[in-house]
Symmetry: C2
């Protein structure tokens, strides 16, 4: 199968598939004309990668998950551990964003958004210099 078909079937752009070959995630064969020739196995792997990436796993995680996927001697504990670490990363990211959101929403709410220059958003961004200065004086 040529890269175009694989792209369609796996849902990944051809460019991405080439990139994945480049970094050693898939190793398609080559036809006589130099075109990449993908086996079903390669297509499966790419679809797997697409899913794993959609869950936010890093490329390195994907590499490891793929290895486990193809290793009959794996234990589900190994897989679970990778997933748990990722779950934790997601949780921390969500917490971080939620905090940002709260602060920003508060500021947006306080801002008139009119023709005047007075703006609590800018005021807040600027004011914190002093907080930092105070912190440093204290510390």
């Amino acid at each position: 199968m040529n890269i175009g078909d694989v792209a369609e079937r796996s849902g990944l752009p051809a460019k991405t598939i080439r990139y994945y070959e480049d970094i050693g995630l898939v190793k398609p064969l080559r036809s006589a004309n130099g075109y990449r020739s993908f086996r079903d196995r390669d297509v499966h792997k790419l679809a797997f990668l697409g899913r794993a990436r959609a869950l936010g796993f890093s490329i390195e995680d994907c590499r490891n998950l793929l290895k486990l996927y193809e290793d009959d001697g794996r234990t589900s504990a190994e897989v679970k551990q990778i997933a748990e670490v990722q779950l934790d990363r997601i949780d921390r990211k969500i917490a971080e964003l939620t905090e940002m959101r709260a602060t920003l929403a508060h500021l947006v709410d306080a801002c008139a958004g009119d023709h005047r220059p007075d703006c609590p958003i800018l005021a807040d961004l600027a004011a914190k210099e002093e907080e930092i200065a105070l912190l440093n004086e204290a510390g």
Copy 2:
């Protein structure tokens, strides 16, 4: 003021400050010995940048916010608009992560995490190939 002091006061690493100069966010003077010489104004700007970045604003947003900050003729509407777009980005990101989290948490929950190879996580990542295949047959 030298870069080390500024780093401490603004809370930004010296490397980052140099980088910010590089991309034109701050323009410190130079002492006779070639050292960067930061005025209070520069330190304020850097602290401002630190805060804005902490709220997730992109460097380009920061550039614009800084411009507005220094422009007496600004309107709060301009500022608010940038902030609202950012708020929206955060919301979309949170939604995306929340969905990832739900899927992943479900899978982690279903996985025994023991010595056996059977793993719902891998099964899920692999199974979706077929969904895609079906989707493609249908479409």
